[in-house]
Amino acid sequence: MGKEQQQTYWRSLNELAQNEEYRKFVEREFPENATELTDGVSRRNFLQIMGASIALAGLAACRKPVQKILPYTRQPEHIVPGIPLYYASAVPFRGNLSGVVVETHEGRPTKIEGNDLHPGSNGKSNIRQQAAILDLYDQDRSRKVLRNGSDSTWEDFTAFCREHFADTGRRVAFLSEAHSSPTLERLRQSALNRFPNARWVTCEPFSEESVLNGTAMAFGRRLRPSYHFDKASVTLSLDDDFLQDSDNDVAHIGAFAQSRALASPDEEPSRLYAAESTYSLTGSNADHRLRIKSSEIPLFTFALAAHLSGEVSGLEAYAGYRNTFSDHSWISVLAEELMRNRGSSIITAGPEHDAPVHATVAAINHALGNTGQTVEYLDVPYTATADQNEAFAGLVREMGEGQIDTLVMIGTNPVYTAPADLDFQTALEQVPESLHLSLHYDETSRQSSWHVNRAHFLETWGDGHSFTGVRSVIQPLIQPLFNGKSETEFLNAVLSGEDAAGHQLVRETWQELLDGPFERGWNEVLHDGLQRGSRYNAVSVSLAGSFSAEAAGFLEAAEEPGGDSVELVVRPDPRMHDGRFANNGWLQELPDPMTKVTWDNVALMSPNTAERFGIPPTRRFGDPNQMVVRLRTASGDEAEIAAWVLPGHADNSITLHAGYGRQKVGRVADQVGVNVFPLRRSVSRLYCTAADVSATGRSYVIACTQDHHSLEGRPHVQDADLDHYRENPTFAQDAVYVPGIYGDREHPVSLFDDKQWPDHQPQWGMAIDLNACIGCGVCTIACQAENNIPVIGKREVRRGREMHWIRTDRYFRGDERGNPQVMHQPVPCMHCENAPCEQVCPVAATTHSDDGLNQMTYNRCIGTRYCANNCPYKVRRFNFFNYSKEYLTTGDDPEIIQMAMNPDVTVRFRGVMEKCTYCVQRISRAKIDTKNETGDTVKPSDGTVKTACQQACPANAITFGDLTDEKSIVSIQKSKDRNYLMLEELNVRPRTSYLAKIRNPNRQLSEPS
């Protein structure tokens, strides 16, 4: 990049301000006091304990510990001890399945990967799927059936069901999570047949109900839009975080990355426009981003439709409509762009927006000819025919009036998630019998007369469909650890009073779903993880006759927002979703993709809005104390939550992430963050106007990793506009001056002798395509699951001790008061050939291997931390305390969590340095397998070794392989002109390289506002 375009990247406003504390902070490797033993065990206490344990150890060591080997009595078929087996299964989330393959070691599931055959996964996965393994081994899961809070049994429960439901005239209400299970659907039908006065309501706090209502408005049918981002040249996201907050996010990310892939400067990547209030992950990947309040999105959408109505047919309902956005510069530019790309554009809107927005979006997509090209409308038989949010409100009203005798809750946690104005808790008290199936003894279980402990999906049989309707069986990998029951077993017990196995229930359903011989078809489904050819029907649509009238109605009702009123926007958290994952330590400790806050939720606002309420946008650098604001809605509901200034957030808008502030659920979830569901209302769920926002004067400590591992402003991320890239394809390599290059870029002069690599060894290398990376953070969780990385807790994270081997840095650039751009950069160990860490280790605990890995030998490490100090990339992590021991041996049942560990990776001890190994256990396995198979080589064929981060990455941003093979994918990636080395001028010769990000802005919108 030319001098004139030299741009600065910053991670936080405090870094941008470059105050005194910042300089002090970056000079220290770890924040102040992080190197002192100040908590948990005090120093003096520690010495006493150490003294005692040395004495004990001295005596104890005289005896050789006796270890036992316990072989199988009857060895199960296919199990060879030491060789993992892989089974296809599926992960349910909000009623949709994603195909996965689960690795098991001697019957113990340890890792979840995507299923290559499954179109919703393509072998990839997201953070929730990766972290599901930890949920399985959650010690805090409910372990028993409870009757009014006291111990009971499953037998008592079935006996109760037999007696209670013998009276089929009861007014029973079933409250269920969204589902797409044929078995559950079969049971649902028989439940509704059996109880004539029964009703079935779906309760999902964040659902696609509005989307379905929107398509019903536009096309007369409740249809699910399915977008093909790979076929789109232009995408407009209206407050829709489709890369993250979607049931089909893995497929979306893959398709989106594919549409932006650039093999050479001649290719034409797609373009993404985003109009949104918060700075979402999708927005951070947009070429143009417009900051507008969520409450202005409907107006913006209608104005766009009105502008387009003059150019295409099908939008006549909007003709002549005008509002404040009609003259906005974006509207005409977008209209022109969309007109130019008819049939290859996509417009999406956030699922929580009201139905008119979705109806308008559907009408625009249809008018532009995108239907059947980039957008499909799927007929989903598992969605209800009526609006379930309304049905839920109606149910709560009836419960409150005493019109419901029995409430059967299958999953869901409405006491926690229901909108505050419905007052679900009071209504529940009016119901004589309430039955609740849940993984944890949660807020709703405590208020119910029966609680049944639920089985994790890896423990019982189930079935369902993916977002696009691919049918799968959920295959269990282990017997229920706590004797939990699946939703089908639970519902079956309610209906029949019998204890039927899930396996039998699912098989019964599938008798009708499979053609040909049943056993053969069933085994095929289990083997592949899906039923081939199954899919929801894409239907052809046309505008409903009533649409014009409806549109006239909602256009009439569209309100111009009050100038400086502040809106409160409640969104699902990227990690916790609605709180169902709150007891998962991996997810709690994963930094939020945009704010990098861990273990908390915060009130996101722009610098201007913060100032308006007396909150200074920049604070003393390194000060974890954030000011707490009190937010009050018009109905008087309040929440006090730490304010967080997010550059690029829309002014006069405050975003809150739900899913925190849970009570008495588990040791991880409790007391973390603030519950913001009370700020939500049952109508227009996404946003409401704040009646009052005020600083409380209190402060609250937030553990945020955005300034940890700072590279002090050096140009480590490279990006350019498409035009600039075409002019100078090697701009990223040319960005820095590398001393000592005399003609030959490959071999700059070095003080150190060149390393000699033996011919028989592969040479490993990695390339990370920043153009593909969207910053979701799945690499971090996949790595954590693969490499036995401990969870350390909020206090330790605040001290910069997070243990993640791969972190995703997020950089801002540009106007912090306006609309700064964002870059995401995953940073694992670079495996430098001239590794600075190796040169300073006094005990040679970190050295180089013959296949080019910078190896960390834990048993040699004495913990001087010189290596971390000398690492220019700040990728080394130190075990300040015995985190693994804390993590693996505390609690009432530590053996449960130990089952999640990967047996091929050493569990590290206190005082030991660790870092990314390029998944050396996978490399070793592949090399040994290759040698055993071929007899003469240890070079695995390309693609055999996949690092955990690479395997999980839905964007295919990470490639890994053998650099001695010129045809390997990683060699091809590294030969591209966008390839550059981070901090190349240091001449440490990293094996990990990056491919620069290319933006594709529209010249007509030169300055995004």
Binding site: Q67, Y72, R74, G82, T906, V920, S924
Partner: protein
């Protein structure tokens, strides 16, 4: 003035020096010898819950190692066989034998026989059996003459230095793959040529970098 200390006191520092040297040497030697894996590990032969005799089953009945420990050819682990493997014969043979009672108990209850581990390397070292036996390292090389053992005994130190001795110079320990389980195999006179041929043909470069075992 009279001498306060008698004359022999002059020798104390000298003797003390000598004694210190001897004691320190003794301590060092003591640790070096008594603390070494060769002293501590070799010869460990705990009594097993069932007095299974390798000598009888291998030497007299002629059973091959692979009959029970076949996973060594596929996996990192050379597993102890399941009760089922024992019961293939002992359902018919020695059915009333008193020492075999734990085996029959295991078969009936489904609970494993609790064998005591003899060969144990630290958790931070990841040894893989399959890569060794498939290139022609004999069982006897590491486990000794198991065919002569009534009770299994650890016959090698299995220390890191011992591993590296072979990894630095594997040639003397290589044998034809079909002879891997042959406990009595002796290298022929032209073994050196054979080993060089195998090393070249099979590209044997026993790794000596840390990550090969420690990860």
């Amino acid at each position: 003035m009279a001498q306060i200390f008698p004359e022999w006191v002059d020798n104390i520092p000298k003797r003390l020096q000598l004694a210190t040297i001897i004691v320190i040497t003794g301590i060092i030697f003591g640790f070096w010898y008594f603390g070494s894996p060769e002293y501590l590990e070799v010869g460990y032969a705990p009594n097993q819950p069932i007095p299974y005799s390798h000598k009888f089953h291998v030497s007299e009945l002629g059973m091959d190692c692979q009959y029970c420990h076949g996973s060594a050819w596929k996996s990192a682990i050379a597993a102890i066989p399941p009760t089922e493997t024992c019961m293939t014969c002992h359902e018919y043979v020695a059915v009333d034998s008193e020492p075999l009672q734990p085996l029959r108990d295991s078969w009936e209850t489904g609970l494993p026989v609790e064998w005591i581990r003899v060969h144990d390397i630290p958790d931070h070292a990841h040894f893989n059996h399959s890569i060794h036996v498939n290139v022609g390292i004999g069982c006897v090389t590491c486990h000794g003459r198991v065919d002569r053992m009534e009770v299994v005994m650890k016959s090698e130190s299995m220390s890191m230095g011992w591993c590296l001795d072979c990894h630095n110079n594997p040639a003397p320990h290589l044998r034809p793959v079909e002879e891997v389980t042959n406990m009595a195999w002796e290298p022929p006179d032209d073994h050196y040529q054979f080993a060089q041929m195998v090393i070249e043909k099979r590209n044997i470069n026993a790794p000596i970098y840390c990550n090969a075992c420690h990860r």
